[in-house]
Subunit: 363 residues, 2 copies
């Protein structure tokens, strides 16, 4: 029996999540380019491609290198890269390595200076460029109406602009946040596409989407979505209402190492051996705690240290005992996966160990 | 030049931090057993031993294995282990490997069932046991007055109890939290020591301490402190008032990849390529953001994604430009270190790459 704490994947749930979303996206006539930062894992990427994904999204050149080495060459680095000399050399080498199989690397830009530096660093190596726009998250990206000017400047610098993209990250919120963000995304992308056309560039790719907003996608000119979390889901997605506990395909398996001896029966607290170095410390204000226990929906993880999760149970709830194993859904599965070296997967062929080939590939 | 994002250590500051704390602790006649979970690194552990540390503290058997393999054999696993069969076998092997050099592994217990399981799993292998008490954090540990009963039960099970320990984690807080937690720690440890004596066990080790509380340590019966963060410090320690920016020995070096084109000069926002997968997502309510920029003390990291830190600058402050490199102090350095594969250290001999030998050693 695998020792705790570890990350366990239910492959049947994973496959169902992949199929459900792929069908939903296909029904809207959209292409699917899942974000591989979530899983960092060839086995999941393979299943996504088998479900009809056109390629993968990644966040860094390092992730792109790792997936390209594993045979996934249709890659979009959805990030406004600022090329150091090292990164320029690596991006040129990557471009060359995937070109052998007929693929082209796609990268993001959100500034004229960044585009000019990209062009200089590439020195003619063929990449496709996507202009990033801000659809309301206010993280990166230019205003939608300025996409055309940036695209024109990128073209002027010698780059090939193929479209526009955004990440509606403000859809991670309570109430109508998901629906509102999806609407703003569609409007912003339409404005940006029109802005490119004014600059004489017809956008071939109009790319958006995230796991919590994808259910509201469909309107507008979108051609592609890039959800990340949907293969596994997590406590955040359940609390956002974008999935149910039955859709959570990845949990940390933890052992109860301590209970509160001072509290009379029935036990109301349990301390687990999975802390922030296993679950990640993500804790947006709208979540109910530092993760959830799918088998104890009324329990709350009220505090988290590096190697401890303190779980509180309602007075009338059955709580696990010392030494019991419990399943914990991390708040943000991307963070949890990036802390591990492998996933333990329960598959039709038994337990498999899936390496996390892009763990820590932050450069 | 090392590509961003990466973790940079200033060895001169590191050495000064190690010496200062070692002197302070020695002045109180206390032994120093630093927590190696913070640095996971042989080079830092070596410097700690050279400054007079009696041994290292670790959180898991895996960390103990990694440090023992690197030659550090005087180890205290300050955690209430619940031994699976695998962990029992590993702990026996570890005990045997350090015994060759005359060392003994020390482990924590906080329940009778855990102690009995430990004794059964060890099957006579010699370890030293420390009873964990709760001094106010309410995470793990028995009530101080119950330490003697647990120690007696552990002895009854065949274990050798050598002392008591606690972690005053509630000292991580604003106002008088540090001072109050140190006082409660001293009182709780005295009560626990007395409780052991009532059970006929003279505690040889009375162990407490943490980086934010150690300055208030000295009273009571303490024999040993186990601070972790002090070699590097971090934004939390500065905001707690337990150090200054000059004492921060580790930063993430990041590049500005995006600025807010919509905001007129002077620039007020910058987006960095170091996100939660580099800095960690720790964000206690009393902190001012997701880390700090030592060279821009008025700037605040207002949001953090996996590969983005959004930094806001006051209207009248000089802000970095696109492509500039900036130094970021993580909120919680232990989390940041555990996300990296190496530290880049600026030493008297030039740049060195220090491997993080216990990264991810969570079992």
């Amino acid at each position: 029996m695998t020792d705790t704490p570890y990350l366990l994947v239910d492959d049947a749930v994973l496959r169902r999540n992949l199929e459900t979303l792929a069908e939903q996206v296909a029904a809207h006539g959209l292409e699917l380019r899942p974000h591989a930062k979530t899983h960092k894992c060839a086995q999941v990427a393979r299943r996504q491609m088998d479900c009809g994904a056109t390629g993968l999204t990644v966040a860094t050149i390092g992730e792109a290198e790792a997936f390209a080495a594993a045979g996934f060459t249709d890659l979009f680095i959805a990030y406004p890269l600022w090329l150091s000399d090292d990164k320029a050399a690596r991006l040129r080498a990557l471009t060359e390595s995937v070109a052998a199989g007929g693929a082209t690397i796609r990268v993001g830009v959100d500034s004229i200076a960044g585009a000019q530096r990209l062009a200089a660093g590439l020195a003619g190596a063929p990449v496709e460029v996507m202009v990033e726009i801000d659809s309301g998250q206010h993280r990166t990206g230019v205003a939608p109406g300025e996409a055309g000017a940036l695209a024109a400047a990128a073209r002027e610098a010698g780059l090939t602009v193929v479209g526009v993209f955004t990440f509606p990250g403000h859809g991670y919120g309570p109430g109508d946040a998901r629906r509102d963000a999806a609407r703003q995304e569609a409007e912003a992308l339409s404005t940006a596409a029109e802005s490119l056309r004014h600059s004489g560039i017809e956008p071939r790719v109009i790319s958006g989407g995230s796991t919590p907003t994808v259910a509201f996608t469909g309107a507008g000119e979108l051609t592609e979505v890039r959800p990340g979390v949907y293969p596994f889901n997590d406590a955040q997605q359940v609390e956002l209402g974008s999935c149910t506990w039955d859709d959570v395909a990845l949990v940390a398996v933890a052992t109860v190492v301590s209970t509160d001896a001072q509290v009379p029966e029935p036990r109301r607290r349990a301390v687990l051996d999975a802390g922030s170095k296993v679950l990640g410390a993500d804790r947006p204000a709208w979540t109910t705690g530092f993760g959830r226990l799918p088998d104890h929906p009324d329990a709350r993880i009220t505090s988290l240290s590096e190697h401890h999760a303190v779980v509180e149970f309602p007075p009338d709830a059955a709580a696990p005992a010392l030494g019991d194993r419990v399943r914990v859904a991390p708040n943000h599965v991307c963070s949890a996966v990036n802390l591990a070296d492998e996933l333990v997967a329960q598959t039709a062929n038994g337990l498999e160990h899936w390496p996390l080939l892009a763990r820590g590939a932050n450069r």
